[in-house]
């Protein structure tokens, strides 16, 4: 399992993460920011434990993020 973290308050709503990893990200219709699916909110840092299968797409999402708020760990 790997861990994905999204520091959501800094999101500028560019949609790149959703384009690269649609299984894990959606865009909120309410505030326009990214939502990390099946995650828990730890003081503004949204954390999800996911299968290694998602690694390639999540790395693309993380690398594309213009505000560098997507972290992947536990590889």
């Amino acid at each position: 399992m790997i861990t994905v973290t999204l520091q959501r308050d800094k999101c500028i709503g560019c949609n790149y993460c959703r384009e690269h990893a649609p299984q894990r990200f959606t865009m909120s219709k309410k505030d326009g920011k990214a939502v990390l699916l099946n995650s828990t909110d730890k003081r503004g840092f949204f954390v999800a434990r996911v299968h290694e299968d998602e690694l390639a797409s999540l790395e693309k999402a993380s690398g594309a993020c213009p505000v560098k708020i997507i972290r992947i760990s536990g590889m």
């Binding site: 500028i12 949609n15 865009m27 309410k30 505030d31 326009g32 213009p66």
Partner: protein, 406 residues
């Protein structure tokens, strides 16, 4: 029209004498990266403050809009309508048409680069005010405003379309915002308000054959100087523009107050017939005290090429040093108490106090008290009191103004 990056700048704009302010709501505006953007929850308060002071309020919603942004853009327009915000500044047709359809006044952003009269006529179907491209000359601006009057081009409100131009603040190396540098290097799009300002850095030229590197003599080859028009504001106003716009939602409240004040005084002087080149020189001197990258006249006087910077950051004559924050205010005697958190405060220091309700206060420390009574100096960790003419609030920021090193 003054920029409001936060409540402190909003109050500073009002103190400076602005007729209107513009601001962004977290995303979908050209300063999406700025940390101090308002949120949608702030709208009722912004609207209340603006109405109480009799000024107009405009939301910037002027980035490129993608399909996934549409619900958010509509929500912001709806909220603007609900809370009585005066207008939406837009560049994307999706925003223009939606705002128009729900009866929210539309202003056309400079991001649309309106450069001719026929485009003005086209957008007058939707918009009452049009911000022209920053790359026009005043002769071209005057042609457009003359044509609006001659052909009686009216906006949805039934009034003649108003023309607005930028008169002060940062300029782009590219045609206003239409730049790929930031997206290319950081994946962070300037056209989505997330510019990382690559143009403000130093660059080298590398010989690809042998790897030799050459620093460029003017090291900031892409960093444009700031626009300043105060010394030819008479020509600007004679071009027939109705609104003078000041750039700077990312800048401090003291910048907003000083710049707004200078242009307010200059415009008032022009209409009173007392505007002179000598008074303009004085306003320019005051403008040099706050954040600037050096001034030039932009493209308004018909220069062929941009003027570029030779230093990093601001050339302001003064800089501010953070000292501490407000801890109390004694109404009856007009005395503010501050906790000094860094450096020290001395008698005779020129100080700056900023806060979300206070706006901007600039004064000189004539007397200084601590628990030891009257003192010459208050150091880190000490509480001290100073007389101020206007009230100060808890957590207002206290700065010392010092001459900037050359």
């Amino acid at each position: 029209m003054a920029p409001a990056g936060g409540f402190d700048s909003l109050m500073a704009a009002i103190q400076g004498g602005a007729d209107s302010v513009y601001f962004g709501i977290d995303q979908l505006n050209m300063r999406a990266r700025a940390t101090m953007n308002f949120t949608i929850e702030d709208l009722p308060e912004i609207s209340r403050i603006c109405k109480a002071h009799g000024i107009r309020s405009y939301i910037t919603l002027n980035t490129i809009i993608y399909d996934h942004d549409l619900p958010r853009a509509r929500a912001i327009v709806n909220a603007a309508k609900e809370h009585g915000i005066s207008a939406v500044i837009a560049s994307d047709q999706a925003v223009i048409s939606y705002a128009h359809s729900v009866g929210v006044e539309v202003h056309i952003s400079t991001q649309l680069n309106v450069t001719n009269f026929e485009t003005v006529r086209f957008y007058s179907l939707f918009a009452d005010t049009i911000v022209l491209s920053r790359e026009l000359s005043l002769v071209q601006v005057k042609k457009i405003t003359d044509a609006i009057r001659a052909e009686q081009v009216k906006g949805p409100s039934g009034r003649l379309v108003e023309i607005e131009i930028f008169v002060h603040g940062a300029l782009c190396m590219a045609v206003s915002g239409k730049c790929y540098l930031s997206l290319h290097t950081q994946n962070s799009s300037a056209n989505r308000g997330a510019c990382v300002q690559n143009c403000r850095r130093k660059y080298k030229v590398t010989d690809q054959e042998d790897g030799h590197e050459f620093a460029i003599e003017n090291e900031y080859i892409m960093s444009a100087k700031d626009l300043c028009t105060v010394d030819f504001l008479d020509d600007v106003l004679e071009s027939g523009v109705a609104v003078l716009k000041i750039e700077g939602r990312g800048k401090g409240p003291e910048y907003v107050k000083t710049v707004t004040q200078c242009y307010r005084e200059a415009a008032d002087a022009y209409f009173a017939g007392t505007y002179t080149k000598e008074s303009a020189a004085e306003w320019k001197y005051r403008l040099e005290n706050v954040y600037n990258r050096g001034f030039w006249s932009g493209y308004y006087l018909g220069q062929k090429l941009g003027e570029w910077n030779d230093t990093a950051g601001s050339k302001a004559r003064r800089r501010k040093i953070y000292l501490g924050k407000g801890s109390n205010y004694f109404d009856k005697i007009g005395v503010a108490e501050f906790l000094i958190e860094s450096y020290s405060l001395q008698k005779g220091d020129q100080i700056l106090i900023t806060g979300p309700t206070t706006g901007v206060i600039e004064t000189v420390v004539k007397e200084l008290h601590t628990s030891d009574g009257p003192v010459e100096r208050a150091g880190k960790g000490e509480f001290c009191s100073i007389k101020t003419d206007e009230p100060v609030r808890r957590n207002d920021k206290l700065y010392k103004l010092v001459a900037a090193e050359k």
